[in-house]
Amino acid sequence: MAKELKLMKGNEAIAEAAIRSGCDGYFGYPITPQSEVMEYLMAEKPWERTGMVVLQAESETSSINMVYGGAGVGKKVMTSSSSPGISLMQEGLTYLAGAELPAIIANVVRGGPGLGTIQPSQADYFQATKGGGHGDYQLFVLAPATVQEMYDFVFLGWEIAFKYRNPVMILSDGAIGQVMEKLYVGDYVPRWTDEELKKNAPWASYGKPANREHHIITSLELDSAKQEEHNHKLQAKYREMEEKEVRFETIDCEDADYIFVAYGSSARIAQKAIQLGREKGIKVGLLRPITLFPFPKKPIAEFSKKVKGILTVEMSAGQMVEDVRLAAEFRCPVEHFGRYGGIIHTPHEVLEALEEKIIKAK
């Protein structure tokens, strides 16, 4: 595949990836710090080149329901927003999950609660990975740490979303959305033809031909016995994701006495803290979850048998730390360090926290 070098913001990379990955429709509503996604799309006018539909909706409620409509007819559709907007989308997300519809939702997280701040945060981890809306469901959650991953995960997102018929959330934050980095883009993937759509989304309500029964996309089932069956099916799907789709990266873990567990922007700050630590003779590594659901429980469990302690680094009051503790099962100390409300921790603070909370506490 021909690779072309670009320099782009994370938000723009999502938009460029949408166009290049054969996305059929983007529906969104402006909110800082992700507005560049739709701004970029509107400036690029992909409808003239690929036929991709781009529409500014009247609210996030509406944009997620536009996504639900588009997904229900088998199209590759997506939206993006930031925390308060994503809260408004929770209704649509649980309907998407319930009706088993593929879609991509990019959340460029900002500090909360409430209207909060517009600066980067990771305080929506619980919302993204533990449901968010009502009912037992899971989003597939990808956590990019670079502009390149913002781009790549749109492609990966389609794959996962259609393979499992499940909404995929790309959970980033204001820092990754706003930073500009090198990005290698590949060739354009054409949008599906009607024939390809029918082959790739045979379940969809794309218009009933004479030779088959009508299709119904819904999350409603009045018979609770059948609804329990549907829930079993969903749970089996989530377990399969846990079996097959866990993604993570390790850095400097081979000889590590301690590890940081951090995703997204925090992982990059932790990486810098590793350099600082190693300069001081502290053998510390990093495990970076790339999928937050399914969560890399097994590798964390393995590390918990080997290392002297784990520090999670999150821009939150401590959310992912709960999953890390569950995986570590008290085999080693697991502590959390975080700044929040839009403040980003410095590498020095992270290293100090490791020394204070783990190394000296022993």
Partner: protein, 258 residues
């Protein structure tokens, strides 16, 4: 039931449309939903657009509409049908996406979606059943409930002081430049059924010609919710509902009538 020994094909004057499924409808006897379903299905059959028709069912009495229309369908979250229809029609511009919504769905919780879809002039058909009450949840007050009307949540009758005024959303939508055809009909007499069918046909023809939003309100009774027999409910509807919600075209070919 079709008995070939009695009914000879040459004598056949009426046949159930294949655009309705064989499922038995759950609507109360005398309710306007069944008739309106049939009319929509007949129009789809007559226009030969079954393979391109997409039904968006709401939340409300017609939540299960997708079980009755033999077309590909989606069940929307409460009030969101016009958002779904917007996306689908833009993604499949030659399809015939229509929403089928009640007064609570369209004029209360879905007001924003309704107004903005109409204001953008989305090339969709909206069928709006207005019976002034929430039927499915057991007869609570709707935005279109008349002043003085008793419901489960206005047990002493709706008052302006407590609840504000009945919402004439159809007139409001007719003011928006995006709507091309806005009409109010009913299905309580054979003549009314014929008129409503013409209106719904017009709406789908407009869509075929990519004219923008076509909006057909059907004022209907809710004999269960109104706690009346069906014939009595129809009488009450004519005497009361038609005063606030007068029957007739409001906007034709993009121009306000009168």
């Amino acid at each position: 039931m079709f008995n070939p020994d009695i009914v000879k094909p040459e004598n056949l004057v009426y046949k159930r449309t294949d655009v309705l499924t064989k499922a038995v409808m759950h609507y109360c006897p005398g309710c306007g939903h069944g008739t309106t379903h049939r009319i929509v299905a007949e129009v789809i059959e007559e226009m030969g657009i079954q393979d391109k028709a997409i039904c968006i069912a709401p939340v409300g009495c017609s939540v299960l509409a997708y079980n009755y229309f033999e077309v590909d369908s989606l069940g929307a979250a409460h009030g969101r049908a016009p958002a779904l229809a917007t996306a689908i029609q833009r993604l499949f511009p030659d399809h015939h996406t229509f929403t089928y919504q009640g007064d609570g769905d369209l004029a209360a919780i879905g007001t924003a979606e309704t107004i903005h879809a109409c204001n953008r002039g989305e090339n969709i058909v909206i069928i709006f059943i207005n019976n002034g009450i929430y039927g499915m949840t057991g007869g609570q007050m709707a935005p279109t409930t008349l002043i003085g009307m008793k419901t489960a949540t206005s047990p002493y009758g709706r008052t302006v002081e407590l609840n504000g005024y009945p919402l004439q959303i159809t007139e409001l939508l007719a003011e928006l430049p995006g709507t091309y055809y806005v009409t109010r009909q009913s299905v309580h007499t054979a003549a009314a059924v014929r008129k409503t069918k013409r209106a719904i046909r017009q709406a789908f023809e407009n869509q075929k010609n990519k004219k923008g939003t076509s909006f057909v309100e059907v004022v209907s009774n809710c004999n269960s919710g109104w706690k009346m027999t069906a014939p009595k409910a129809n009488e009450w509807m004519v005497e009361n509902m038609f005063v606030k919600y007068p029957i007739g075209d409001i906007k034709v070919d993009g121009e306000k009538v009168k």
